[in-house]
């Protein structure tokens, strides 16, 4: 039985939070579309170095590059790669200062073999070619930011940014944006239906609702009430539930290696930044007088105040910052680990290592399912803790 979810006001608030979170998430579009090749730069350096060495030692070019493969899987992309040349295309939305708005599917790039109006796809990510490049569709060869066309050499531009005034803006629905929208849809479908179901006055849940009720009660009774308190938790419960299920669902989606999953959404720093930012806003907007008193007038001797006040102010930022880094690094580390263990087969170039590698990957994957839940739990728990600390009244 969920006494608090029966109240229509809580149901309404939950809907509102779902809406607000999904709307704010959409603001994250820009950063998603653009931060994809951040990790790529690093991989690029490593790749370059390995290639140079290979040239020096006159080795074969077709060497398997683990770092590059892993970074490619972790980074965002403009298509869902399945196998070989098979992939699910995603919409590309570009705003070019010369050409204006462009909208087409990423399949137009033919996996990087075709340039469309001066844009190419380099390892799954859309890039703009520098200099005078013919418009329309032309056949090209793309490799790590370098484009070969008609025997001429072209370079590609860096990612589009709002601040540095790039010549194009990338609003594409990438893998991460697609997964974000899909998980928002799934969460809204399940939980709005569930809220309606309880609103009708039913006490016994059915179907998937009976699996989710204990989890909702878990968030309420083991996370919200102990950390925020019996009287005030109702105001924050909708947010905590939203963030818990959102993070959990996306952690699990990230572990699915094929189409609907495979995007590394919670291992994307833009998303974790956004979630941590929402927690920070919740903490500070609803904070009590005592909380601000502790920051600007800490109960310490006068001589220590110049030292304590800056520390307390840094504390406002550092707590959500740690939340952001924790989720991002945990999920990314899990993906890196699974992929590195899988790469053992190709590093040793031996079939006999495969059973060992697969056993490790299986173990890690199962562990990652636990970690996915644990990280969602910890994110929610620490959010509740920070909110609760800011709620404390003087006594």
């Amino acid at each position: 039985m969920l006494p608090n979810l029966n109240k229509p006001s809580t149901v309404k608030k939950f809907k509102l939070y779902c809406l607000v979170v999904s709307m704010i998430s959409m603001l994250g579009f820009l950063s998603f579309a653009q931060d994809g090749d951040e990790a790529h730069v690093n991989a690029h350096d490593v790749e370059e170095q390995i290639h140079d060495e290979a040239h020096v030692m006159h080795q074969e070019e077709a060497e398997f590059d683990v770092a590059e493969m892993i970074m490619h899987h972790i980074a965002d992309a403009n298509e869902f790669h399945i196998a070989g040349d098979l992939s699910v295309p995603l919409p590309i939305i570009l705003w070019d200062t010369i050409e204006g708005l462009q909208f087409f599917l990423s399949s137009a790039f033919h996996h990087g073999h075709t340039a469309v109006d001066g844009f190419v796809m380099d390892h799954g990510i859309v890039k703009k070619i520098k200099g005078d490049f013919p418009l329309g569709k032309v056949d090209v060869e793309v490799h790590h930011g370098e484009v070969m066309y008609n025997g001429h050499h072209f370079e590609t531009e860096g990612k589009s940014t709002l601040i540095a005034g790039s010549s194009f803006y990338d609003f594409s629905i990438t893998k991460n944006v697609f997964t974000l929208l899909m998980s928002c849809g799934i969460l809204m479908f399940i939980f709005i239906g569930m809220a309606k179901f309880y609103k009708k006055g039913s006490m016994v849940p059915k179907g998937i609702y009976s699996a989710l009720e204990p989890l909702i009660l878990f968030v309420k009774e083991d996370i919200a009430i102990p950390n925020i308190g019996e009287e005030k938790h109702a105001k924050f419960l909708p947010y905590l539930l939203t963030v818990f299920f959102f993070v959990w669902l996306n952690n699990i989606f990230g572990l699915i290696p094929f189409f609907p999953g495979s995007a590394n959404l919670t291992g994307n720093i833009a998303l974790t930044f956004l979630l941590a930012l929402i927690t920070m806003i919740m903490t500070n907007v609803y904070a009590s007088k005592t909380y601000w008193g502790h920051i600007f007038n800490p109960p310490v001797p006068m001589a220590l105040k110049p030292l304590m006040i800056p520390i307390e102010i840094v504390g406002i930022i550092s707590k959500p910052f740690a939340l952001m880094i924790r989720l991002f690094a945990n999920i990314s580390a899990g993906h890196i680990l699974i992929l590195s263990l899988l790469s053992l087969i190709f590093i040793f170039k031996s079939l006999f290592i495969a059973p060992v590698s697969i056993a490790f990957v299986l173990f890690m994957s199962l562990l990652e399912i636990l970690v996915g839940f644990l990280q969602a739990f910890i994110f929610t728990l620490l959010s509740a803790l920070f909110i609760g600390l800011a709620q404390e009244e003087h006594h």
Partner: protein, 72 residues
């Protein structure tokens, strides 16, 4: 060559971070088990406190790893 030196330093940095986190989480785990053995009825409270402390340590360790691998 310089690149290689940087990579080696990064690896050492990551190793040190993991060492620190390992010691920290190990100590928390030891104390938690001790506490639970003494007071089995307080298991739930101890577990929650343990997870929070472990998460904080892990956060610091992961920050070190991220700084070593992505930023430098």
């Amino acid at each position: 060559m310089e690149m290689e030196g940087m990579m080696a330093l990064k690896a050492v940095g990551v190793g040190l971070t993991v060492l620190g986190a390992g010691i920290g989480i190990g100590k928390i785990g030891a104390s938690a088990v001790e506490g639970i053995a003494r007071q089995p009825e307080a298991t739930n409270k101890i577990q929650t406190a343990m997870i929070i402390a472990a998460a904080l340590i892990e956060g610091a360790a992961l920050f070190g790893i991220v700084a070593a691998t992505f930023l430098v």
